[in-house]
């Protein structure tokens, strides 16, 4: 039995300290997934806490065959999607950290995208001295422009290292749908990162 399983056992028997250790092992990962889905630090912080509240209440229903992290990610995705739906119902539009207007489902506003594309200096490479800063900015912008489902799948596969099959089970969708989401996400990211066209094979296209 692994250390994590021992902690889960103890937590299931009401050991609060064991649960604290489980929380501290995974709270940053949960926060990151929540951030990738909401694109908002405050929402991600609040939702990550809510994830552990839900996990604590459902602890006795956690089964050994599931991975602890996968179980938490499932709760995170569901909470974030619920949050997104509530936001949609309120018809609230918000701006993401980069200042670009973004719709509640995470997809870019067409006008914002076209105006950004028009203003992007796609004909020249970024200055080497500021390249790393610019890369970060472009990566975050590119992620912000993915629809939330594609962003969730991409984040789970790329940054949380979950196999496609597990993502499908976790999100309760077909594995083929997960692959489609991921493929579309990759194509969008490739287009969004056209700034680095030499690196990603868009030169001359």
């Amino acid at each position: 039995m692994t250390d994590e399983q021992l902690l889960i056992d103890r937590a299931q028997q009401g050991d609060r300290e064991a649960f604290r250790q489980l929380v501290e092992r995974s709270n940053v990962d949960v926060y990151r997934l929540a951030y990738d889905m909401t694109r908002n630090h405050h929402d991600a912080e609040d939702l990550s806490q809510e994830v552990f509240i839900r996990a604590y209440r459902s602890l006795t229903r956690f089964r050994r065959e599931a991975k602890w992290s996968t179980w938490l990610y499932r709760i995170t995705v569901n909470l974030c999607l619920d949050h997104r739906d509530k936001q949609s119902r309120k018809r609230m539009e918000y701006r993401d950290d980069t200042g670009y207007e973004d719709t509640a489902d995470g997809s870019a506003h067409p006008d914002a995208r076209s105006s950004r594309a028009a203003s992007s200096p796609v004909t020249s490479s970024p200055d080497r001295e500021t390249e790393s800063v610019m890369i970060q900015q472009h990566i975050e912008q590119a992620l912000s422009r993915l629809p939330v489902q594609e962003r969730a799948v991409f984040s789970l596969r790329h940054y949380h290292d979950l196999p496609l099959k597990e993502i499908a089970e976790m999100m309760n969708i077909a594995e083929g749908t997960v692959k489609s989401h991921l493929f579309r996400a990759l194509q969008r990211l490739r287009r969004e990162l056209a700034f680095y066209k030499k690196d990603i094979g868009l030169e001359g296209q």
Binding site: Q49, I139, H158, L182, L186, Q187, I200, G201
Partner: protein, 274 residues
């Protein structure tokens, strides 16, 4: 039969993340080798992932992380705690140290009270009981300018010591481990030198309590000045231990001073005598 381009692209997600079934790997590789279009597309996606690998992962706010469990724990086990205001966890005060140990407040309170009692004794109090009669002239004539200057220096000394110790004891968890004590030790050494002069100058009977308080502080400051910071041992813990031990003496002194002040006849105040 060769794999089609359509089939090849369906397999891109699995191939990019090394999840391609073993039976398809050779076929997929063969297709890429013979199809420049699919190969270019596949390589472009690989390059895209390389760029995405350079992402600096989002990081929660430090204060939020430090108070993470406290905030969470406050919501267990009953739902009725849901309405607990954020103030209870300190989360609404990003600039506030995450945790200030209780003894730090104790030390601060003792020092503040000691300064207050001293000021009271100096400006409003009389001599302690048992002061010989031949000291009456000090009360009737008031302190000389030099004595006033000594009292002012003593008050300033207390204030500076208090600030130094409160500054150390109010450190949050993060700064505690990376604390550079050199500046604090330098100030401690200055205060110790000042204490040597002050304890000689505080020679009036009614200044003896202050003199003893400064001597006690001197012990703490000596401890701080002489700390040998060893690798892996957080220096602040050594300081805290010393302050903890000595705070008992400070409290004793304070209680003695307060008792003396209570016993002093109110009509012997310095203002009246002046």
């Amino acid at each position: 039969m060769m794999m089609t381009c359509e089939r090849s692209r369906e397999l891109f997600p699995e191939a990019l993340y090394s999840e391609l079934a073993p039976g398809l790997q050779n076929e997929f590789a063969a297709h890429l080798a013979s199809c420049p279009s699919c190969r270019t597309e596949f390589e472009a996606l690989q390059a895209t992932l390389q760029i995405m690998n350079q992402r600096i992962q989002p990081q929660p706010n430090r204060d939020f992380l430090e108070s993470y469990w406290d905030r969470l724990n406050a919501r267990f086990p009953a739902d009725d705690k849901k309405s607990r205001p954020a103030v209870a966890s300190g989360a609404s005060y990003p600039g506030r140290p995450a945790r200030v140990p209780a003894w730090a407040y104790g030390i601060a309170a003792v020092l503040l009270m000691a300064v207050g009692v001293y000021l009271g004794r100096t400006y409003f109090g009389g001599p302690p009981p048992g002061v010989p009669r031949n000291d009456e002239h000090l009360l009737s004539t008031g302190p000389t300018p030099d004595e006033d200057s000594t009292s002012d220096q003593a008050v300033a000394y207390l204030e500076r010591s208090k600030n130094l110790l409160i500054g150390l004891t109010n450190l949050d968890e993060e700064h505690r481990s990376s604390l550079d004590l050199s500046r604090n030790q330098e100030v401690s050494r200055e205060l110790i030198q000042q204490a040597n002069v002050l304890t000689v100058a505080l020679n009036r009977p009614d200044q003896q309590q202050m003199r003893r308080l400064i001597q006690d502080l001197e012990v703490i400051l000596l401890q701080l000045a002489n700390i040998d910071v060893k690798p892996g041992v957080p220096a602040i813990e050594l300081v805290q231990k010393g302050v903890d031990q000595r705070s008992i003496l400070l409290k004793i002194n304070l209680e003695e001073m307060r008792a003396i002040a209570r016993r002093s006849p109110p009509n012997q105040s310095k203002k009246t005598n002046l």
